[in-house]
Symmetry: D2
Subunit: 352 residues, 4 copies
């Protein structure tokens, strides 16, 4: 089978023939990949940014947003759960199953988690072995959700979902929510913000008019272009949107010091700043206003199995819009370059 | 001024001339009534159902869903808060201001609460004295919300709001919410269920096709007509709607043993049965299935000032639909009869 | 090995020789039973009360509160997790692992759950097969917690823990919590009520002075003997305890109509009635006071793996007191009779 | 009457004769001060740190932690609420009563709040006018709580209470909570941490052995002296306390960059860093570990009326220990100097 593998940091992926795994142990399932999303985290890995933080052994097949079809089933998979040809999304938080995080359903936070495409071989490949049927979500074909729309839900469509779910109880009439960065995550985040708004205003922040236009199509009530603007001018714009009250919840999908700063400076009293983006090093928060306004700051990592299940429910009901650019596996390095340049609108997906 | 007053239980209201209050003490505000909603609770009071439960002294001017215009302002009302002619909704939970309930914002639950139209003279009158500016919500006229649409928000539009807000965090993709009884409360309840659904299905239960039709227009995804149907047939219908999973949240706006039973028997595992309707005497819950399924049952009373403020925010954004039948103050006994007969669709409002 | 088995409803258990299971499949673990608690649910099963509700195939080895020692380990159990001789508590909610309940950590609520001693052979036996290492909690022997103290934690010590954890956020200074029924569950419930009280008063309700004495030793601030007393006299006693405010949270470990009624009639405004006991058929709740006081009623079933883990943490810290009566496996029918008669104080435990 | 007033920043307070207020308007109450706590915020004000942030008009009588006795009562104070001589604690969040914060019970967060001793004349005086009976909490004298123990509860005893109440639902067996800084706030914080621990470990961090000793007496299970230690050595100590899991909740009562850093670096996965101290300028949080570990950071400001009521409930039950140093009003500048030098253990209180 063809796989796109990372042999050396900062180098293009190598597309090469790898043997299809044969013997399936215990609860393992072999999945024929239908589509795999390309994520900013892939850029981080290729760039070597995570090499001292996460145990990565080169060479490795990248790709952690994977949907496909069941091809082979291990003997300890319970009967009647899966059959060959089933359409499945792969949940990538392959946890140990017994620790305190796994047992509360947050397998993605397991201390000994294996993420495919990061610690195990991933989805930029024709096939992938999943260690247990417990990491698959079957999608009934009667809903006609295309496989390339399912793949990005496993991360880009999941991370902002979990983030917004954490705070959705604080949304409602008279409130507001902002999303900073309308890329892969943000383009889904805008939609969840709208779905869970309960009448709150939804505001998109970005630097690219085309992406802000997408945000409007995906549910934003207002957009703020932050390119080449200073904080005063951004705040004036925010204030004119919502009567000087500040924004109650802001999700930063970028994570640079600049976007952190825009977020924290735009918060309403009692507001929450959610951070899912990883581009920066340090979040700097002013002590006095944080205490006096009782600000909350909250890190957001990926999502869990049930959250992915809920995202897929939305997809099945056609409540999620997608803007997807498809690339063949052979074009993966081109897709990587476009993502680096910021020229991908929405999500790019690799079709093996 | 003309007021409609209850002199004797089970008798028509007497419309008579009463003197307009003159001297305003302390924080008092005199409001010229624009419209006052007619509520099932008014029928209870007229019928004498509450005479041993709540301290009511006859004669009394009924009416507790009141919107109108500021006419006079007491000398201890802070400057710049109100001026003559301001459009206001009256929050009717006139609490003591210092007890544990008032101080957490639930003035409607104060042990020594005064409800206008129940313990104090109410809104079926040309004027009403409100004991403090702290019980008024000003509505900027620039939003052009008609006064007769504001009045019912003070109870019919508020009670289901609080009820659904209690549980909205449990709504979302793959979940479902049912509203039983599409009268005054239910016709607003359906809309809040939709606004806070987060992708959950909204199901209306009623006995009147015209009201169920209204429910559809107001956001219900499904309707179930329960008239002349037994439990098995209702459950079959519910099961066909949502894959036999049961309904996660059910709000009973009627409160009869029959509707309680439909609600509790339709609950999904872990589901919540909210009860706002007062027509019955005893809620009967099966012990075994309540324990094994961890059902929750929760009584819902009116709403608080901030919740009313949020409802008004929705109205200002034109996110609430209304179906209102207007009556003049002189026609109030006719309106009462129609409400008794079940022939009011939506809410009836008295215009003095 | 010797096992105590139910062959016929309403008959004594038969103690007989059964073959020790040999070949362990997949993730299975063979546990040498150290102690197994005897529970009221065992009486229900023996009496046939559940025969139309839960799929039970006779004969069956009863016993679902089990602690013991690892004896054999299946080949797909990950290395380094368990070794022969390890002291373990068996979590009895053997769920499917992928449904919405299992994936949020509530395996005990799985629709296809297998409970040992109810649907599978249980712990009144020398050995038991556990289907996966994921249902075991290892207890480091350095804490010196005796195995017969661990066994009852799996149900009697777990069910009230989950119940009180649901509501503990509402406890605190000025609040109160009552436990009705000081048997197996209640004697642990009193302790959790105290541990999570945050300054709230803890009140024990029972019919047996010896058990109420135990409640005092285990942390109750007040006791109320309900035997031969009518509701007025019980309420007078409750009112004298807490200034007529009612009790904020009441956990009914009995579940009879009489205890339900005591609970609901003693609730404070906004109070919660938790029900874990299964002895009654119907919980009857007065409609008017439930709505006006916004009462909450909540069914409570067992607990999940992490909750059991937390209970064991308390045991390791010696924060749980026990009152345990030990019986040999051969005396099990005698223990059953004593439990029926109400003469067991605390929990009885069977030692095979 | 004698009052201690600030005439010029960075200068000693001037003790001078001021006229006792005579005519009481509306809901006003005149209180004869029994004791007023001296707070770090007083140092900030004297130092001029807040002059550009909060509207302060000199000269002003400082002091915002006040308990005393009712002396005069305005004519619109409802009858039977207060009488001359009543022992009262003054709640200092004098809000407008109608904004969204006031109406949810958080008057201390009102945008137009008047804090006595900061915007209005405060408690370092023989008498003080309180604008409404709604800002007083009466303490029945039968509980025999001394007035000098009540005064510090209004801020030092309230701020950590609110902070810990925000997160107490996450405490419990196997968890841990740390308090940094064992001064006025921290010495109460340790006690609330213990009261709400639910079996969690309580760890005190400080630089002064005498204060850490106090922390042990007040409920800390462990103490860590951070003086002259680097982060590695502090973390080794923390790790040895709780099996390398990190600390689930940390409340920083100091707020310097150094203590922020100790707090954030000691957090367990999913942990919360609460900040109540105002000594620093910027909280610096590492982006990657905040996201990957889903850390939460939360500012904490004072407390609300009901929270103060709960704190007083604890005091009435004798569940709060105090370490108080008393000074006469004439010694106030000496007390200020000692607080500056860090030589006050617990709280200093001024007796007029």
């Amino acid at each position: 089978m063809q796989s796109a593998r990372l042999y050396e940091y900062k180098q293009p992926l190598k597309i090469e023939e790898v043997q299809i795994p044969k013997n399936l142990n215990g609860e393992q399932v072999l999945v024929k990949v239908g589509a795999t999303g390309l994520c900013h985290s892939d850029l981080h890995i290729i760039n070597g940014d995570l090499r001292n933080i996460i145990p990565i052994n080169l060479p490795i097949t990248l790709g952690h947003e994977i949907a496909g079809y069941v091809e082979g089933i291990g003997r300890y998979v319970p009967e009647d759960i899966l059959e060959k040809g089933d359409l499945v999304v792969i949940f990538s938080g392959w946890g140990c199953g017994v620790c305190i995080y796994c047992k509360r359903g947050d397998e993605q936070s397991c201390n000994s988690v294996k993420w495919p495409g990061i610690m195990n071989d991933g989805g930029f490949s024709e096939y992938i072995i999943v260690p247990s049927y417990r990491f698959l979500i079957k999608v009934d074909k009667k809903y006609s959700v295309p496989v390339h729309e399912l793949a990005p839900l496993a991360d880009a469509g999941l991370t902002p979902y979990r983030a917004i779910k954490k705070v959705k109880d604080n949304l409602g009439p008279g409130k507001s929510i902002g999303i900073i960065g309308i890329g892969g995550l943000g383009s889904y985040g805008i939609q969840y913000a709208k779905i869970f708004s309960g009448g709150a205003s939804v505001i998109a922040f970005g630097r690219n008019e085309q992406k802000l236009e997408l945000a409007k199509n995906f549910g934003a009530d207002y957009t703020v272009n932050i390119k080449d603007k200073n904080m005063e001018s951004i705040q004036r714009e925010v204030n004119s949107i919502n009567d000087n009250k500040g924004i109650d919840i802001i999700l930063d999908c970028v994570g640079l010091e600049e976007t952190n700063s825009i977020g924290i400076n735009s918060l309403a009293k009692g507001g929450t700043f959610l951070i899912a983006g990883l581009l920066g090093n340090t979040i700097k928060i002013p002590t006095f206003s944080t205490v006096v306004n009782e600000f909350k700051i909250s890190g957001c990592l990926w999502g869990n199995y049930n959250e992915l299940r809920e995202v897929i429910e939305l997809a099945k009901k056609r409540m999620i819009k997608h803007h997807i650019q498809k690339f063949n596996l052979s074009e993966i390095n081109e897709a990587i370059n476009q993502l680096k340049n910021g020229s991908i609108i929405g999500r790019s997906v690799i079709i093996p």
